[in-house]
């Protein structure tokens, strides 16, 4: 199997990037997209060229590292899958693929396909946690949580912070990410104490990072590899109004 690649190459944050064309040959349909990039990089290294920089870690769809857009789609053409879970059988033999880093002001490109997503870390630091007493681990099931709530909180907790929501959004809004974190903790009893402060601080941090604003077109939901629902954004909007009312 053979693919024509147009890959975004950019030396550093400051430099101008451009597309470079590569021919990927000797592929099999059962290779993952990242394995295909490994093959290309192997060849580039042997030829004395600089390999394509891209992020990857677990390669099993749970770490959220493999951030890149394939033909304008964050994480490629498949629904509910990260780039590492995209296999070459999803493409035609001889197809041309354009591979780009996430595009957003808040995610500046560091090198090639690698964008700086530390804005997400700073949003988490602002309130994406619960303050609990350390020490002995509490008994499992010491706090009873209803099945419905537990499921909903888990749906939100699926977020791996990959940034595809921001990448797909025409406004580069991070609301699905922030909403997933706010809802995940805000649904559970352990998160109630800081619930109002959390939504307030995380939204303030999100705004400060220069993400755009949701215009309810739900591209985020369509590309999310964990299929997190925009229902979470509605929850966050409601929680935020509650926090404002609380101030009065």
């Amino acid at each position: 199997m053979k693919l024509h690649l147009r890959v975004w190459r950019q030396q550093s944050r400051q430099s101008e990037g451009s597309f470079v064309t590569y021919e990927a040959d000797g592929l099999t349909p059962n290779m993952s997209f990242l394995e295909m990039l490994d093959v290309v990089n192997d060849r580039l290294t042997k030829e004395g060229q600089e390999p394509i920089a891209f992020e990857h870690d677990c390669r099993e769809g749970i770490c959220g590292s493999c951030a890149m857009a394939i033909n304008g789609e964050p994480h490629g053409p498949n629904a509910g899958a990260t780039t590492c879970q995209v296999y070459l059988r999803s493409f035609r033999d001889g197809q041309t693929l354009t591979v780009e880093p996430w595009r957003a002001k808040a995610f500046p490109v560091i090198k090639d396909l690698v964008a700086d997503r530390s804005a997400f870390d700073r949003i988490i630091q602002s309130g994406g946690f619960v303050s609990v007493g350390t020490g002995q681990a509490p008994d499992a099931n010491a706090i009873p949580i209803g099945k419905g709530i537990a499921e909903k909180a888990f749906d939100a907790a699926h977020c791996i912070g990959c940034g595809a929501c921001v990448a797909a959004c025409r406004n580069s809004s991070a609301m699905l990410f922030v909403a997933a974190k706010v809802s995940h903790l805000g649904l559970l009893p352990q998160g109630q104490t800081e619930r109002k402060q959390r939504v307030q601080k995380m939204v303030a941090a999100m705004d400060a990072e220069g993400f755009g604003n949701c215009s309810n077109q739900y591209a985020c939901e369509a590309v999310c590899p964990k299929e997190i629902s925009v229902e979470m954004i509605a929850r966050m909007n409601r929680d935020y109004a509650g926090a404002v009312v609380d101030q009065i």
Binding site: E73, P74, A104, F211, S215, N216, V230
Partner: protein
């Protein structure tokens, strides 16, 4: 909140070129004693929260709902053109104008509502543009699955609608588009009142005016198809189960308003409504 703590110059400091800064809003609060509390810092926090991304989305949604309420009432009033007698709509228009205090409260309220709606959307849209400086070289299919033509054209449809509203006010309220309106009067039940029926039929007899009104109502349809569905999300009332009903409801609302408003110029052009 005292004058000393606020500082006199605060009233004039519109920092960072924004249209409504925290300082400007504080000045407004300062002028409205009922909104003041002793806790200055607390107020400041509320103001910051109202001006956040979600705060401004709430402002746009609340003002949007108020304006939807207005257009629904406006359309219902307009449909009295079809009552069979001009007296019906003329009497209604006369009734509305017979309480100047109520009338002007409504007008100023609507003006403030529209101004907040426009301020909110402009500031949000400006940030959105800055947040996405570079797009993708290839347009993705998946990320556009739920994107509609009506949703990507909200700013354009809104701006044209604003232009239409200004024209509409100049046409029927200020009556400067056709100066003969001021002399159109009728007598209903012994009371002399403006002949609104005649103004409408005269105005819509000109095809370009009718066409402009129908096109504007098509844009209202487009604006509300996305807007009326979006408010549910902003208010936090949209979920997986209600989504399909919300989308359907916005289609129905937008269609009813389009047909209701457009029926009048169309009826005039077809000769159904005549003098």
């Amino acid at each position: 909140m005292t004058l000393e703590r606020l500082g006199f110059e605060t009233l004039f400091s519109y920092r960072s070129g924004g249209i409504l800064t925290v300082e400007a809003l504080e000045s407004i609060l300062f002028l409205a004693p009922s909104l003041q509390t002793d806790d200055f810092l607390m107020n400041k926090e509320i103001l910051r929260m109202i001006q956040s991304s979600i705060g401004r989305k709430w402002i746009v949604a609340v003002t949007g709902v108020l304006m939807i309420g207005f257009v629904v009432v406006h359309m219902t009033g307009n449909l009295q053109m079809f009552a069979g007698t001009p007296d019906k709509i003329n009497g209604y228009a006369h009734l509305l104008k017979s309480y100047p205090l109520v009338l002007w409260s409504f007008r100023l309220g609507l003006l403030a509502t529209a101004a907040l709606h426009i301020w909110g959307t402009i500031s949000l849209a400006r940030e959105n543009r800055i947040a996405k400086p570079v797009g993708y070289a290839v347009a993705g299919r998946k990320s556009r699955l739920q994107v509609t033509l009506t949703s990507v054209t909200m700013v354009i449809s809104g701006i044209i609608l604003l232009g239409f509203i200004i024209f509409h006010l100049l046409h029927f309220t200020a009556q400067v588009v056709d100066r003969s309106y001021a002399s159109m009067e009728t007598v209903v039940g012994g009371v002399t009142m403006p002949d609104v029926y005649r103004m409408v039929v005269t105005g819509f007899s000109k095809p370009w005016i009718s066409l402009f009104y129908v096109v504007a109502m098509a844009l209202l349809f487009s604006h509300l198809r996305h807007g009326a569905a979006s408010v549910w999300q902003t208010f936090g009332l949209r979920d997986r189960n209600s989504a399909q009903f919300i989308e359907m409801g916005s289609w129905i609302l937008a269609t009813v308003l389009f047909l209701g408003f457009s029926s009048i110029p169309v009826a005039v052009l077809l000769g159904v409504l005549k003098l």
